[in-house]
Amino acid sequence: MQKLGMGQAINQALKEEMQRDPNVFIAGEGVGVSIHLNPMFPTHGLLEEFGPGRVKDTPVSEAAIAGLAVGAAEAGLRPVVEIMFNPFFTLASDMIVNHAAKLRYLSGGKSSFPLVVRIKSGAGFGAGCQHSHNLEAWAAHCPGLKVVMPSTSADAKGLLKSAIRDDNPVIFIEHMGLYFAEMPVPEEDYLTPLGQADIKRQGRDLTVVTWSGMLGAAMGAAEKLSQEGIEMEVVDLRTLIPLDKDTILSSVEKTGRLIVMHEATRTAGFGAEIAAVVMEEGFKYLKAPLKRVTGPDIPVPASPPLEKFYIPDENDLIQAAQEIIE
């Protein structure tokens, strides 16, 4: 099987969907001509293949980029637009939250908005808090949006293709750290359904629910815990909205113990939602209180030791697992 970084997998998904459906186009800052000549990046080479009519470099204008998607989607096109870094979601948020998410409802179901907003995210680049700020919880709090956050290249390809074919607005958040980790990706055209979590590792002693950039740490921790005789089940959420409660709840039913791990800051992060759902619907399964392993409630600092302190890692998870098992 081919081995691809997540950027390449996304590239393949974009390419296949653009070949398949002439209504698909991409737009954003540097999606055509880029300051990166790097084939690991998601939109590399698409301009050459599809031309400037379908690969639209835009000015630095996030509201216009998102509005472009809203208007074009209403007309039946399938825009896939890019917001360069997650903190700039703010600048596009009126168009996404008040329009992409709500206009269908406001039309009484007459119009639909089949658009995808791809957002690069994730700390770990020393770029600081105006480039690194995980805001998936914002999107997840807005009915009308779907929210996808893949953690493997194969999932990214299949999920993005599903997102593009979905008739609803989808926020598709990519952790940049995963662009450079090569992983197996099926060659063929396949769809990974939105709304289905994936058990990336079976376990009987406790469950960790995670997504996006944290999967690697979770898998690493699971490996090490296994050596101590603790078997951790790793649930990769993949899509936050729609939320696959069933998979989470059955896992917790089995293990009786739950940790949620995400890179975003703790308070009012999406981990809280998982906690609430499990509390409401799986309380009786719980043998111990849930724990959250998350970024602390601070902006992401630039300096390497500080940034490392910020990003939750294998050790944090192992420690939480040991505590919860006791």
Binding site: G53, G67, D94, S107, N168
Partner: protein
């Protein structure tokens, strides 16, 4: 450019209808509990929506804002369904989800109405992009107020539309007020049309109380757009004769200013022109008025007799 007679008549008809519609709402919304939400009307501004929409084909698209009733009626929206939606009834064009403020009528290519000031512009850019992408021979008209022209979205949208030469007309309905703020209190630029220069786009000023002038300017901008020459910023100067909404006491609008503009009312102005040039007779005018009266009465009856949506219907239409 000469305005075809049937267009002139059309404009007068939709203006009279819009006015009758608004005047009726003025009364209705005084009745406690009858009509929910804010009531935002365009009394005195009808030459804009009616002039613009007469210049468009059905396939042309409009994206409109909180002050939309005249635009939508002129574009051909069904008065019954509009009124029922304003009443928040199940039979409304948006099943009561929208109410008066976000009326969406995709059937007449008025698919998105937004009350977020300035938000019509980026959406219109997207809609016009689709027209260009598919090589359609149609344009998008984007309505917005003078206040909206101070939002960042205005700037991003005009820059992008000019850059890509999109077939869009940015229609600034300058009614001299943004909420309680007079034009001079929210910007230093003398004319909003001047802002076109910032994007190397044509900027045109037109008397917004002259439906014929609005029609002609729209036709010209539309032709430019269809010829691949990109967007135009078209500023229609008019006046908000009533308050921002119906609960606004207009304490900040000088009485004599209101009076002066009421005297410039676009409806008698067009009616007189048509009568003087023998396009219609004054009895035809009366017919138009009673026809409009009937349409609005019927719309009110339809709305009144329609049921409210069932509570659980609130859960529908979020996702496809």
């Amino acid at each position: 450019m000469d305005v075809p007679e049937e267009k002139k008549i059309k404009m007068l008809e939709t203006m009279i209808l819009s006015r009758k519609f608004s005047d009726t709402l003025v009364e209705l919304c005084k009745i406690q509990g009858k009509i929910p939400g804010m009531m935002i009307l365009s009394t005195g501004q009808e030459a804009v929506g009616s002039g613009v929409c007469a210049a468009l084909d059905l396939e042309d698209v409009i994206i409109t804002n909180h002050r939309s009733h005249n635009h939508l009626l002129a574009k051909g929206a069904d008065p019954n369904e509009l009124m029922a939606e304003i009443y928040c009834k199940k039979t409304g064009c948006n099943k009561g989800k929208s109410g008066t403020l976000h009326l969406a009528v995709p059937e007449v290519n008025a698919p998105c109405t937004t009350t977020v000031v300035g938000a019509t512009l980026p959406i219109a850019v997207g809609r016009a992009f689709a027209q260009q992408y598919r090589n359609e021979k149609t344009v998008t008209v984007c309505f917005f107020g003078d206040g909206a022209a101070d939002e960042g979205s205005f700037h991003e949208a005009l820059n992008l539309a000019a850059l890509w030469q999109l077939p869009v007309i940015f229609l600034c309905e300058n009614n001299m007020y943004a909420g309680a703020q007079r034009y001079e209190e929210h910007t230093k630029v003398a004319d909003m049309a001047e802002r076109a220069k910032a994007y190397n786009m044509p900027g045109v000023i037109v008397d917004g109380n002259d439906a014929l002038a609005v029609y002609q300017a729209t036709r010209e901008a539309r032709q430019l757009a269809l010829d691949g020459q990109g967007p135009t910023l078209l500023e229609c100067k008019t006046y908000r004769c009533r308050g921002h909404g119906e609960t606004d006491p207009q304490h900040y609008q000088p009485k004599d200013e209101i009076k002066a503009w009421q005297n410039k009312c676009p409806i008698p102005r067009l009616a007189d022109t048509l009568i003087e040039s023998d396009i219609i007779t004054s009895s035809r005018l009366e017919e138009m008025q009673s026809l409009a009266e009937n349409i609005v009465q019927e719309a009110v009856r339809f709305a009144e007799e329609s049921p409210y949506p069932e509570p659980h219907e609130a859960l529908e239409d979020v996702y496809v």
